[in-house]
Symmetry: C2
Subunit: 275 residues, 2 copies
Amino acid sequence: VSPSPDHKELSRGFVVPIGGAEERAGAMSVLSRFVELCGGSDARLAIIPTASILPDTGDRYVEIFKEAGVGTAFSLAINDRADASDPLWLEMLDEADGIFITGGNQLRLSTILGGTEIAKSIRRLNAAGIHVAGTSAGAAIMPQHMIAGGVPGVLPQADGVNLAPGIGLTNTLLIDQHFSQRNRLGRLLTAISYNPFLIGVGIDEDTAMFIGPDQMGEVVGSGAVTIVDPAELSYTSMSEATKQDSLSLHNLKLHILSEGCRYDVNSRIPYPPEA
Amino acid sequence: VSPSPDHKELSRGFVVPIGGAEERAGAMSVLSRFVELCGGSDARLAIIPTASILPDTGDRYVEIFKEAGVGTAFSLAINDRADASDPLWLEMLDEADGIFITGGNQLRLSTILGGTEIAKSIRRLNAAGIHVAGTSAGAAIMPQHMIAGGVPGVLPQADGVNLAPGIGLTNTLLIDQHFSQRNRLGRLLTAISYNPFLIGVGIDEDTAMFIGPDQMGEVVGSGAVTIVDPAELSYTSMSEATKQDSLSLHNLKLHILSEGCRYDVNSRIPYPPEA
């Protein structure tokens, strides 16, 4: 019951990474769109606040999502590894039409949820059609390979990023968040240069990519999604570089996508907003 | 006597933009390489300190270049438009094997030198084989289109850059400097999106691109040169964007080139260091 990520069947749920600091009152374009996707006033939304050390994060999101029009929202108070195997939370998760993973520290998510029944359930449920969104740390944790930390800056540098295993809802994308606000292009470039099979996705605050079961992602929100695709990388100096060296990376593709733009993860082609 | 920029004859001189803050003592890899190019201990170097409001900038570079091994170095004290037509300075410029334009404010360079005999001479001499280097503001002024200012950040934004005419030693490249140190990818992207016939070149501090008469550029120095090539740009939202909007740019090519890497400006192809 641990299906492969990027399961290509059209019955799988959306994967919705959000770059953090999404609007939490008013129009709430990102959160409202997720609520609508999950079924609106009929939807039951499970919130996983594990990344946050603030005790009220889950309850705050319950209120925010009610304001955004969801039918039912409930928080799963998973704060340690024992919680992450608690049958109560597993049963509640099974009730959900959508799962929302809050921000905080992605290493809390990976160290507390990694390998547990909750993590397996999230993968299984997403493969079975349940939509999963995550903001900030909750976005970082979604791929098979997670950016755990790194140094800010425009350019890549050796040792400029720390990777860890994520939950594995995609094995094609590497996701960074608070992207332009925290000047993270360099660490995303470093991360994809470690093994250029991955596509780097840098998501701005108040911005999301709604990735459908057909692997078409659509940008929603006030910022941009920056895609760095190393498919045609012709030269890299990463293997010989030390921390102080400037790196070389030749023939990267760069796309900057704003609201309404789409990106086909399979073909690696960006599309403009529909007219 | 105002030859077209990017004159393709192999008799023209090198164009050497430097990203500012080049090493000015010790190994001085960038400045020493320029001295060597101009003829080393036989070379006569003319320094144009017009960008700087500090009275000793020209004399300081005379000392620095002597330290770097040049035969003769002299500063042309051009501080206003009258100076820029002074026959004395024009005669001295004609004596030079190489011309070095210091840093400061590129709008001082363009407003004081623009349209003057000195500016025409620099173009004519470069076309005739005299090498021209410029650091910081002196690098920005070199192309036909100059980045005069802009806002820092990773992503492009409408009105995020101010352009002005430069001296016109290249009509293919748009040059930014202090590139990663001052977080200038966004303004370079904005600038090339205004008219995507230009190739964006972002040069780090203590780093230069030595562009030969064959239009092959080689990276020298401790930082990187970032190239953004919009030749295959398939979609841009720049024409409809307002200041607050996130922009979209699809299918840019991105190259990060460190020491020894080369870039063929004609074919737009990067090459790794020679083994």
